[in-house]
Amino acid sequence: MKKTSKIMSIALAMLMTAGLASCGSSDDKGNDGSKAASNSGETVEVKMAVWGSGAADNFNKGADVFNSRQDKIKFSVEMQSGDYNQFLGAKTAANDLPDMFFLSPYAQVAQFAKNGKTLDLSDQPFAERIYDSAKASCEYDGKLYAYPMVQEMLGIFYNKDMFKDAGIETVPTTISEFEDACEKLKAKGYTPLAATYKDSWTENHTFSCLLGAALQDDMNNWIESMNAGTGSFDVENADAMFRFLDIMKENSGDNYMDADSTAGFNALANGEAAMLFSGEFSLLNMASINPDLPVGLFAVPMTDNAADAKLDVDVGICVAVNKDGKHVDQTLEVLDYMSDNTDKEGWIANTADSLGAAPVCMDYEGAYTADYLTDYQKYVSEENTRPWVYQQLAAGTQTIVGDTVQGYFAGSKDQATVLKELDQQYADLIS
């Protein structure tokens, strides 16, 4: 009996090892095969790493269309579950980056370009098509090092039915109108704002928008001073920023620190709250919960001046090409497919033209219409937008801002402490 079990266990071990070895070797063969194939002009695989989000399904559909049209290149989108930065770090260290990969705009694109990891894309066809305003997010040393794939909007999404029911005729454009709207909603028994504050990245988005509203035309100078190490988060209009945060706290229901982003997104979709301070990505979940909810969008009204209420619109995803990739030519071909705004059934149609999808950074006549998109287009056509502040600060800013401002929401830090800590931590960050 004992002998049999011993033999069994050894046999099992050998079997498993053999099984694994065969897996490994078949893979090797696969690799060799693809290399050989690329030489003879047959199918090569182009991989694009993307971060985890609710949009993965759309990306796969976009890739399928490309693959069904030709058989020379197999375009596959690999969604990295878990922490994307961790994936990037590990792959960079190992010099094992995929053919194409998502990067965060500005700082991260610049870091990769500086390190010589990404290909100069200045001469690619998309460079002619994208808006000039989108270019800065992908530039380093005067050259384009990534394709700005989509631009995202941060603002206040609201339930139009609830607003109508509460007797709010026009969307608030000043702080007093906003407070007024909150009161009217409360009077009707609605929770004015959906809380998302358990996830500190949402506080970073909020604070960044408020900084933009506080800085207005001074934004570029301020960013420059921050990156030179001479600026401070204690900007002239800081009091107004914190007043807005206070209003948010007062109008986000009970136990608002317990709600994470998904809970907040669902609260708007389910009709549990009237407003949500977030981006268009917050509506992705709505497709499965309440796709027909009429949702509008307005810019954060932080000051008494209606002209200050600009929508925060900026590039959200940059696609970089691995300079040392095995199939650079094919990768560029895929990139051209992804950035073709004349293709009505291609990448853009599948990934940037539905509920909660971010629009592209170039002219594109989409088939999907929604109230919030109409509102967004109005802001864009009137040039009533401004970029996101935090993306242009040093890499890592989002974490320190989010975590510190979260302390203000939780009531463990006051305004002075928040501003002081932000300055200290930012100084550490750029040192």
């Binding site: 011993k6 498993m16 985890g52 579950s81 998904t262 990505f281 992705l284």
Partner: protein, 276 residues
């Protein structure tokens, strides 16, 4: 009289422990029960029982996760890791506990120290090493690294339990003409069945649940493991709770079964019988 009093005592104690156990299990029950509910019901009432046998979560989660591929990969990696790491740990512990002098303490401490290394501290280095050794995007790479990590715990545990085994037993076996290999495998090893099963089950769980290592080593979708793909439903900006919970239920199932099967061996009380 005395026997019945004892019976009552054990009955009452048993009921108390059982109640505590049920409280402990509640979160797990909640996971399973919510797996059968549509997303909206999960969000609005987490504790309500499912009203019908709603299976869409499972079918959708399995499709998106590429379930059978990742399941196969996870089984291959986990079973190999368990066999290799458990066997090697036992060998190593046997060697260490039989060596005399400083060299024994040195090896013991070396393995003990391994347990206090947080994985994140070596993650970057491992990623570089795996690429240089061509172990990235392979299943065998996962087996090698996991076995390496797990032996730290395995060796330490086996050494601890080997100490509890009277050395006279082995000396007697040697006097009876038992060779050194036979003494180890046929006299000592059977006494450690509970320990071996325990260690094996733990290795199984750790390997099955491992997320970080497979996520940095294997980007290829055909080589991913079940836990890695479970994350597809929960990113920092969005969570599809219904699919996540259904996927979690599916990925839990094999380890629950393994544990329940193994429990019989752990409780079989082989050791005490043999020592007598």
């Amino acid at each position: 009289m005395k026997a019945s009093k004892e019976k009552t005592k054990y009955g009452v104690l048993g009921a108390v422990v059982l109640l505590l156990g049920i409280i402990f299990m509640l979160p797990v029950f909640l996971i399973i029960s919510n797996a059968f509910k549509p997303n909206k019901d999960i969000l609005t009432n987490f504790i309500a029982l499912p009203t019908s046998l709603y299976l869409d979560n499972f079918t959708e989660a399995m499709e998106i996760m590429n379930f059978w591929t990742v399941f196969r990969n996870t089984v291959l990696v986990t079973v190999s890791t368990v066999v290799i790491a458990t066997l090697f740990s036992f060998f190593c512990a046997y060697g260490i506990s039989h060596l005399k002098g400083k060299i024994s303490t040195f090896f013991y401490m070396l393995f003990v120290l391994g347990q206090i290394i947080p994985f994140h501290t070596v993650m970057i280095a491992i990623s570089v090493l795996a690429t240089n050794a061509h172990l990235n995007n392979t299943l065998i790479g996962l087996v090698i690294f996991n076995s390496g990590f797990f032996t730290a715990f395995g060796v330490m545990t086996f050494v601890g339990f080997l100490k509890g085994i009277p050395r006279e037993l082995e000396e007697a076996a040697t006097l009876d003409g038992c060779g050194i290999w036979r003494t180890m495998m046929q006299v000592v090893f059977p006494l450690l069945v509970p320990t071996t099963v325990t260690v094996g089950v733990l290795f199984f769980l750790w390997s099955w649940n491992d997320f970080l290592l497979p996520s940095i080593l294997n980007g290829d979708e055909s080589l991913r493991t079940i836990t890695v793909n479970l994350y597809m439903f929960k990113s920092s900006t969005s969570a599809q709770w219904n699919l996540f919970i259904a996927g979690l239920t599916l990925s839990m199932l094999p380890i629950v079964v393994i544990y329940i099967l193994a429990q019989r061996y752990i409780t079989s009380g082989l050791t005490s019988g043999a020592i007598k």
